[in-house]
Homo-oligomer: 341 residues x 4
């Protein structure tokens, strides 16, 4: 059960409620996010939620039977919109395109990409400075200095940036420079990192685990939310299967199902979802048609020279074509929803 | 290597070629389909294919490095179009909608569905008479009598029908009544059945195995093709994974990749692909956007009363909405391809 | 619910029972096997099974909540022992080693292997005459003539043989020559074949599907059993996963779990379970320690020259060592069970 | 290529070698572990390794074609033995049993378990103080205070302890109290944590990722090794599949294959590997028969009251029986290896 407290709820109010709930065999967690105060209460017995609603300081009470609570759509029907400022929004009618290289490699590369994106109307640039690589001997990214450079150049032209964080100790350093923290698939259940991101006042894009279930993804989002940060984007990036013809299988089913289960926006990552450059476009457009609120795509001036992920990276002309087609698909989707067919 | 013979190629010609190939360490299979005569030759050594082209009776020679040969796009760039007669075509610009119940249940059900589809502009009706069920105690379908009834009613209104065949001995009985033989996921590597369907002069829709690779699917299609039948439709129907939130994961990647690997048309089955009625539409539309040449969807007047697969079956109003949206997506896809963006 | 009828139960008795059950919302299937007469009745409502037990001709009644019924251990606690005659038994204390080549290739090969097995004390020889191969251009086996030759030579020395059947129409031809029919992983849900094997008076070894669940395996066994044949061996042969270091993952868990769920014996196939010759031994011994009632192993005088599966096939000295070790592990397992530790 | 330096190798020596290698298109990483000094050099071109061997300060040079290097068996044939002091060793003939509760819950629980293990001859106790849980509302462990209590009581009786670490910042705090750091499946690719554990002078048990490949596991071990810590135990704990009858599928194949690929000891975790208490014994014994150097098992005085993982936890009498049987299986395995059969 989720309890929404009014702004004038007192600690005394909550203590009394805690006493009542615990006597009835329910746990009680107070969750203070950047914008709201909630109680999350879990128990096996039946309880008359109207009694909970009668306590002083309680604004509203919702039953939520899912294992995740605050990220569930069961209590919050309106979709969450992530506002990045300067008119850049993602969610519910605001389609977000995030594009850029796998790794930040040089100032020239960043400047060139920033110009390309600016001219193409893309408002959010991706780029990794700390790279999680399977082998310790692979390129590990340019680190904080690379991130600063990336941030400065992108912000000059008004682009927002998203970049991956690997551990709690990086958060403070990265904070002034990123607009969205990205949590990669390998860290989907790095709960220390998720908790630490709960206290951050910046949006977090959370990728599904390599073989993570939707329930695990939503519970991981719950870690961030219940530690204080309501601004989360979920990202479907393909799952690991037996099929060897591509790197991953983009789980298209996850897109509409996540949107039904949660009020959080859902982003599709076709680059990792298939891992083959020539098929990023059809898979990405399919993800949009399935209902994604945004797309994150790897792009590079010369993919064959990229320091990582070149085989799944679009060049500029492919990127441009993708953006144009994506916008057309978004438009059709909106028409189909609006005319009620 | 694929060798295409001219129509005046003689047995003597082919014997000489066989001798040459076998001396060079190559196998040689003559494949006589309903419309063409081929040689399929496999070997590990290098051979100068111009020498093969110089043999009498040889029209053309193609190197094909895939393990499957005749179904590969490497030798045949033009996509195959399946012509069902009466202007009903599937493939390359001819989008095919196949709709109907999981199982044929009664004359009334069939008649009602035929009328619904006719009025909705759908030209191909699906319906199972022989049902492969996990448990021997589940409803096994109405059998041949059900199929005859289905066929008669559908053909009266000019609909084509597709129905599943389970074993070679059923083929002759079903032959006069079906327009497309369907091979289910469980029979994807039932090679006896595939061989038998090679000698049939009707199209075959071949579903991918429950955990079948694309290479296995294409090799299974090769069984049909190399036994004489060139008219094959490939069908992506979801794969089995660890995710418990839905019955299968529709492998959206498979659609563009199969189309790149093979000249055969690709059909998407969102009903089995997700297994949840409320999400059949977004997943099906995504499949179209990814490039599918057709869609096969379970539909029923009252899904909750269906004898099988009710939980993934659309009712009439959902079906109607799906058809309208599908047509709009097909149209957009065609525009995006044509204007070259 | 399973109803066991007495030998003097009449059709009239069963009609009355059927009437009662159907009035109470239960289905009723009479199952006549080679040795018993059962009723299998399924329904959702509660029913007092004592009332069923009071009907004339009813010997015993058992509640079985599993989706499979007659193969369940819930009604039959004593394990099934498969008796092949001449003192060759598999199940419950009778450990069965089945060994031999993937494919029958020549008379010399068979004769040599028969001698090797005879001298090593192995009583059951495997060997495929009809081979299910992914590609139509691969070696498809020596066919019926090969099987006859195999059967004659093996039977001369008193070996029992197991060989794979691919379709119902082969059963009659194979019947005089095999001692155990093998159903391969690809045919695990070829229900036509399973039904046809129900009417056969020879044991059937049923391999788990490539990605088949235990419940599907047991339901497939139920097809054979409920069509008349109680003599079934279940076989764990590895499942398909994301791991590329070996062909399959032998599911060691399946062995004790299948034995707990069913009264049928369980055979482990380490050759397909890992697909790498050098690891067949440790994986096979592990399967025995986990509780397998038998093992089926690919062996060949010269694995590197085998026409199929050479990379997972033991040579004679490896086979001999495996047999000796297997016997030691069986002995230890038996000691550990007997002394009650 | 791995270069082993002699103890008198100078920085100057290594600079010259670096220059040579980089000129030949090879990378060069100096790796200083707690006991050795290596160079790891990776490149695509051919190089005459004898030339490398001729450089001053170079003791030995090994070609290693695997993506992981220092953990590979290709250069180090002798298996690594982990010495925990006081005669407790794991690896190559030293079988290690690690047993204890999933979570540390109370002083009484720990004291009781310590006594039980001591009397049963088990020398290593497991117990989690920091618990990674899917949901933020689940019990998260007793934390550092719990760990101190656990450590004190266990060390009093001479037991070694293993406990899970979740993030780099915990390492210093945990250091005085644990004998083995455990990295859980969810953190298998938490590279920040792995790097940090490289500088620790205590052994690390590294669990395979939930759907991690063997290659990923070995590369993750390489992160620890190449950051300085050679004392690593690999742990197979089951992989995620489609099978719903148990929590995971213990990948028995991984055990002999990891031992062939790496010189590090391999531990089997049957508790997580199947997740069902009644089957932990057969699966664990199978793991030993397959070649595991040790086993880690969840045990609790009253599993039904455990705060986590109760459904897969043995009680004392089951634990005792498991220990006795495990020792017998280890003994048989050793006999089978020694007599050369």
């Amino acid at each position: 059960m989720i309890i929404k407290f009014s702004s004038d709820s007192t600690e005394e109010n909550r203590s009394q409620l805690r006493k009542f709930l615990e006597e009835n065999g329910f746990s009680f967690n107070v969750v203070r996010t950047q914008s709201n105060l909630y109680g999350v209460s879990i128990g096996k017995r039946q309880i008359d939620i109207r009694k909970v609603g009668d306590f002083a300081g309680v604004k509203d009470v919702f039953r939520v039977s899912d294992t995740y609570k605050l990220v569930s759509r069961k209590w919050r029907k309106d979709p969450t919109i992530i506002d990045l400022g300067d008119g850049v929004r993602v969610g519910e009618g605001n389609f977000g395109i995030m594009m850029g290289p796998c790794s930040i490699e040089s100032e020239e590369q960043v400047r060139d990409m920033v110009n390309f994106l600016f001219e193409s109307g893309v408002r959010i640039m991706r780029g990794g400075a700390f790279k999680p690589r399977s082998s310790p001997y692979s390129f590990q990214g340019m680190g904080l200095e690379g991130l600063k450079m990336f941030s400065n150049i992108a912000h000059e032209r008004g682009l927002k940036i998203i970049s991956e964080v690997l551990e709690p100790s990086q958060i403070d350093d990265m904070m002034p420079f990123v607009d969205i923290f990205q949590v990669g698939a390998r860290n989907n259940q790095n709960f220390s990192l998720l908790k630490a991101l709960g206290s951050v006042d910046k949006p977090v894009l959370l990728k599904r685990g390599i073989s993570g279930t939707l329930e695990e993804l939503l519970n991981s989002a719950e870690y961030i939310y219940s530690n204080g940060n309501e601004r989360i984007l979920l990202c479907e990036r393909g799952i690991r299967t037996f099929e060897g013809a591509y790197r991953n299988v983009l789980d298209i089913n996850a897109i509409p199902v996540l949107k039904a289960k949660s009020h959080l926006p859902v982003i599709v990552d076709p680059s990792h979802g298939i891992g083959l450059r020539e098929f990023v476009e059809p898979v990405g457009l399919a993800g949009i048609m399935a209902g994604a609120d945004g797309v994150i795509v790897e792009s590079h001036a010369r993919p064959e020279e990229a320091l990582s992920d070149g085989q799944q990276t679009l060049n500029y002309s492919e990127s441009k074509r993708f953006i144009e087609k994506a916008n057309r698909v978004v438009q059709l989707r909106s028409e189909l929803n609006n005319v009620g067919i």
